[in-house]
């Protein structure tokens, strides 16, 4: 059980900063008043966090808070209680387990962006570096990115391409589900459950994450593509983010391009093959409109969608080209 980690925040807005969740303005005022939850729990281990959630079913777990606190501040969410995950040191690093890395859900984007992590899982590091301005990357976590499940979440296509699985901890113990099943809504987190770890295979091969944005500085992806090589299984895996509510996997394009690669030799492809792969991926993710049920002529895609398809094709071509370079 958690030891004396219940911190009560005064319910008046003038002192709402005591729990360290909300800051106070320069003049001792805050505009956004007692959105600070009445109870804030700061467990020190995953088991304590699970117990705290079981004790207060209405509590909301919070890690970096980059999405959650924005919703609180805009009045969209008013949690009755918060369980802060920031002090659980066991999920802020990673460990190795039979050819996999077991990544703590509390790993920040800033940590994943560092060179030692990039040597392990290059595409995830690239996605973490692209995930926003430094303030967001310092606070936002891998687990938070998965739970928020925004279509533009940068880590998501990488995890989908890596075929990562999630270690879920809850009152009933631990279970493991593929990340795609959670993102697709096939399986959900039950009440009281948390993402503890993310299991990612270590492939020791090039991986690329690319995203198209509307400006040079940090911004949400218009489209993103992750390409991962798996030489042991002679596979290329690709996922496309931001164009649909969840990352999309173009399986046929993956198999086709994997069959072209000489896995025992140079592992290179002609530029035309990379371009064809890009077009294949884009057409799979943004298909042409189907003809009507009564055989009427299908409509044409609007120019903005055509541009998005061209963007996906370009990103996939470049990503594969860089992975094979």
């Amino acid at each position: 059980m958690c030891q004396s980690c219940h911190v009560r925040a005064d319910s008046t807005y003038r002192t709402a900063g005591t729990a360290g969740i909300t800051g106070e303005g320069a003049a001792g005022l805050t505009m956004h008043a007692p959105q600070a939850a009445h109870t804030v729990t700061l467990p020190g281990s995953l088991d304590e966090a699970v117990a705290a959630l079981a004790a207060m079913p209405a509590a909301v777990p919070v890690a970096g808070g980059t999405d959650l606190m924005a919703a609180v501040n805009s009045g969209l969410l008013r949690p009755a209680a918060l369980v802060g995950l920031g002090r659980i040191s066991e999920i802020r690093g990673w460990q190795y387990q039979d050819g996999h890395a077991l990544l703590g859900a509390g790993l920040t984007h800033a940590r994943m962006g560092r060179p030692d992590f990039a040597a392990l899982i290059p595409a995830l590091a690239a996605a973490a570096r692209a995930a926003g301005p430094p303030q967001i990357r310092n606070a936002g976590t891998l687990g938070g990115n998965i739970v928020t499940a925004a279509p533009t979440g940068d880590a998501l296509p990488v995890l989908a391409a890596l075929e990562a699985s999630l270690v879920i901890v809850g009152p009933g113990g631990r279970r493991e589900i593929p990340v795609g099943r959670l993102l697709a809504g096939v399986e959900m987190l039950a009440p009281g459950e948390l993402i503890g770890y993310v299991r990612v295979p270590l492939l020791y091969a090039p991986q690329v994450f690319l995203k198209a944005t509307s400006r040079t500085g940090p911004s949400r992806a218009v489209a993103s593509v992750a390409v991962v090589l798996d030489p042991a299984r002679r596979m290329v895996r690709c996922a496309v983010g931001a164009v649909a509510p969840m990352p999309l996997r173009p399986y046929e394009a993956e198999h086709w391009v994997a069959s072209l690669i000489d896995w025992d030799g140079e592992r290179t492809l002609a530029p035309e093959a990379c371009a064809a792969f890009g077009d294949y991926v884009a057409a799979a993710c943004i298909p042409d409109p189907a003809p009507g049920p009564d055989g009427t002529e299908p409509g044409t895609l609007p120019p903005a969608v055509l541009h998005l398809r061209r963007t996906v094709a370009t990103l996939a071509r470049r990503a594969l080209g860089r992975a094979l370079a």
Partner: protein, 789 residues
């Protein structure tokens, strides 16, 4: 000015790359007028980079803005805003909200004691929508409660029954649509006609251009605190940029005499035009009057995006005629501006758009027809460079087209047509101020181009798409483009542009009392420099601004540099005369032979030497003066008239890299040359130009508040992409042409607006050059910057 001051100025000027010829001037002036001061003397006076007095407080986060204010026993307000762009209000039921514990008052249109509608030129905007909702986010009711959350919940508990109406969102359909307002949908129509309509040129190019809706997106959202007064009036603390006008509007709505409403201007967290929203100030004042308590409101970012004035989205159709040498013969244009639901300052924006529709070029025959119309889109109003910016993007697009058709270099074609002093604008007004357009264009054209990064290591390249991004060197094309822009200074068409300032000297301290609002444009620093220059007093305080002071007008169109700076100068000179007259009389010499520097008064021959404090002898000296520029006249029914007091010009050369497969654009460099009259504060001039160019870059690439069927789609800073530090390019201020404008105080021209106007056109021209695509829409969408797409 002191020798030290002169030296500091020289360094600053060198830093911004000013024409070297101006530097010896300053230095010689300095040595001629004053002995060298002690080495530690701080910079002071005109022409030096005096830092702003509030710089430390702002950087340390202790500078108070309106959102930081507090009053004992204050209530919090929330405004209920319409979720629909166009609807008839059938009923408003506030009973549930009013009965909520903690709620002190709920006000709707029925509780407005004075005029129901207000507006700058046309009183067409209701305080609260009564029968009709005309735009998404229009205020409908407001609540005061003892807690901001209670206020917000109570506002959400107000039940409004709407009958949804079809929104008018296409300005082209506004002419035939049902009137959105009793006076119809046409706010203003200017059919400018200049020259012979029958003339045609050997070469004709046509184009259709669309400019998006830029939001000023100030860093601090709207906020205010209203405090009731014992006399039944109210004081509103807010970051108003036009306090007297806001006071008059508020007093009329509250049914009070203007004297019983006072606006106290707080720190301004960013202003690009009209800053504050009447949909915040008026409900605050009404609630304070109703409850007898101070009431505070700090708008959310969403409210801010919905309700303040935006740049007019504009549709422009052009036809340029030129002869075989590329000399312009005739320009025909149609300009349609989307004003949103209310008139606000749209007629001024339209006048600027029509008058500058041909740009800083000599055009013998011009036929420009402009309309500003009402729609149910978000409201448009005064945003720096309005009117001039939209037409600049279009006429420069036409100049590029003409150059391509004639096979001429775009800079050369522009050079063959540039305007100069003595030429006529299409409004028939003669350009009497300095118009060194050719010099500006030559300066940016001849400035060395930035090197391609091919010799640098690849990891140093910053490609479109950002560091570690998707950019691919093989798909990146570089383009160079030019833009020439012009803006007018001060209000136009007969506006009474007057400003009043008071200068007081007491002991060794001078105080300036002037209701010109420091919005970040640097007026407070300039006023200190002026007093230092004229009175030789180091320690100059600028009094806080409120509406008990005489009016100074809006902080717009560079007015305060001109009229308020002029008023401060005159008041300071009057104080100087009062100070020196007795001494001069005593020594039997004219007071012009006395100089003041570093708090000491000396005569030309060195016989007399005393200090300012001694001369004052414990007295306080006060003087108040006004500055009123020469009058202007409205444009007549054919768009003719001397409508503008002064003009300022700017030339920008943009260098861009475009990833022609993804359509992503990175501006590598902006080189600017500007006609500034005289540099009064080099560091400040540099920052204003950098800020203006960056705002223009935002309008060119990303900034567009998008709507669908009149609803603002993403009113947040994620959906509305402002330029970041990585998007801001290298900026080179190649030349500041210091040709004094004889009618302006100090000969100086306002600096802020011209770069905003010119940069988008230059960026579009550069993307055009890189991709070969027409680029006729701002902001530039990626699909239009894809080569061959």
């Amino acid at each position: 000015m002191t020798g030290m001051g002169g030296n500091a100025g020289t360094g600053g000027l060198g830093g911004v790359g000013v024409d070297a010829s101006s530097v010896p001037n300053l230095a010689s002036l300095a040595t001629a007028t004053a002995p060298p001061p002690p080495a530690e003397a701080p910079p002071h006076g005109l022409g030096v980079s005096l830092p702003p007095a509030d710089a430390a407080a702002k950087t340390q986060g202790t500078f108070p803005y309106a959102a930081d204010l507090w009053a004992e026993g204050l209530l919090w307000a929330a405004v209920l805003r319409s979720p629909h762009p166009h609807a008839r209000i059938l009923s408003i039921d506030t009973r549930t909200a009013a009965a909520m514990p903690g709620v002190h008052a709920v006000v709707t249109h029925a509780d407005v004691p004075g005029d129901a509608a207000h507006g700058r030129k046309v009183a067409d905007r209701p305080v609260f929508a009564s029968e009709l909702v005309r735009h998404h986010g229009e205020p409908i009711a407001a609540v005061a409660a003892d807690h901001p959350d209670t206020a917000r919940l109570a506002a959400a508990a107000i039940v409004v029954e709407y009958e949804l109406l079809e929104p008018v969102t296409d300005p082209e359909l506004a002419f035939s649509a049902e009137p959105l307002h009793p006076d119809g949908n046409l706010i203003r129509h200017i059919p400018l006609s200049f020259g012979d309509p029958e003339v045609t040129g050997e070469v004709v190019v046509e184009g259709l251009y669309r400019i998006g809706r830029q939001d000023p997106a100030p860093i601090g959202a709207e906020a205010g605190l209203a405090v009731p007064r014992p006399d039944g009036g109210v004081e509103i603390y807010t970051a108003s940029t036009d306090p007297h006008n806001d006071r008059d509007l508020a007093a009329a709505c509250f049914g009070l005499e203007p004297e019983r409403v006072k606006i106290v201007v707080t720190g301004v967290p960013g202003a690009m035009g009209d800053r504050e929203d009447s949909g915040v100030q008026l409900p605050l004042g009404l609630l304070a009057l109703r409850t007898g308590h101070p009431v505070k409101l700090a708008a959310t970012r969403e409210e801010s995006f919905l309700s303040h004035a935006h740049r007019h989205p504009t549709l422009l159709r052009y036809r340029h005629h030129a002869d075989a040498e590329g000399k312009l013969v005739k320009v025909e244009a149609q300009i349609l501006m989307d004003a949103g639901a209310y008139a606000d300052s749209s007629s001024d924006a339209l006048a600027a758009a029509v008058a500058f529709a041909c740009g800083p070029y000599v055009v013998p025959h011009a036929f420009v027809e402009g309309w500003a119309v009402r729609t149910n889109n978000p409201p448009s109003g005064h945003v720096r460079g309005e009117g001039a910016m939209q037409v600049c993007a279009a006429y420069e697009g036409q100049m590029d087209k003409l150059a391509a058709k004639l096979g001429l270099d775009p800079a050369e074609l522009r050079m063959r047509n540039v305007l100069a002093t003595g030429d006529l604008l299409p409004t028939g007004q003669t350009v009497t101020c300095p118009a060194p357009v050719a010099e500006l264009l030559a300066a940016v054209r001849d400035f060395p181009l930035p090197a391609l990064p091919k010799d640098d290591p690849e990891e140093h390249w910053l490609l479109p798409g950002g560091p570690d991004g998707a950019g691919d060197p093989s798909a990146v094309r570089r383009g160079v483009g030019y833009g020439l822009g012009m803006v007018h200074m001060l209000g136009a068409e007969g506006a009474d542009e007057v400003s009043t300032a008071t200068v007081k000297v007491s002991g060794s301290v001078a105080t300036v009392i002037c209701a010109a609002v420091e919005t970040g444009q640097g007026f407070a620093t300039l006023a200190r420099q002026i007093v230092q220059e004229i009175l030789g007093i180091e320690d100059v305080h600028i009094a806080p601004v409120d509406t008990d002071q005489p009016p100074c007008g809006p902080a717009a169109h560079g007015r305060h540099t001109w009229v308020s700076g002029g008023a401060v100068e005159r008041a300071a000179r009057m104080v100087r005369t009062q100070l020196l007259q007795p001494l001069a009389h005593q020594f039997g010499m004219s007071h012009e032979l006395l100089t003041i520097a570093d708090g000491k008064i000396t005569s030309y021959d060195g016989v007399l030497s005393t200090t300012v404090a001694e001369a004052l002898d414990g007295k306080e000296l006060w003087a108040t003066a006004q500055c009123r520029p020469h009058p202007t006249e409205p444009l007549d029914e054919t768009g003719q008239g001397d409508a503008f007091v002064g003009l300022a010009f700017c030339a920008v050369r943009a260098v861009v890299d475009v990833d022609v497969e993804l359509g992503s654009v990175r501006v590598v460099e902006l080189a600017a040359a500007q006609d500034v009259g005289r540099v009064l504060n080099p560091a400040q001039a540099e920052t204003r130009i950098e800020a203006g160019l960056t705002q223009g870059l935002g309008a060119a690439l990303t900034e567009n508040l998008r709507t669908s069927a009149g609803l603002v789609r993403r009113p947040d800073l994620t959906g509305y992409a402002l330029p970041t530090a990585l998007d801001a390019p290298d900026i080179h201020i190649v030349k500041l042409v210091e040709e004094r404008d004889v009618v302006a105080p100090f000969g100086a021209k306002a600096i802020s607006a011209a770069p905003v106007v010119t940069a988008p056109a230059a960026v579009a021209a550069a993307v055009r050059a890189a991709t070969g695509r027409p680029i006729n829409r701002l902001p530039i969408r990626p699909q239009t910057a894809v080569a061959g797409g």
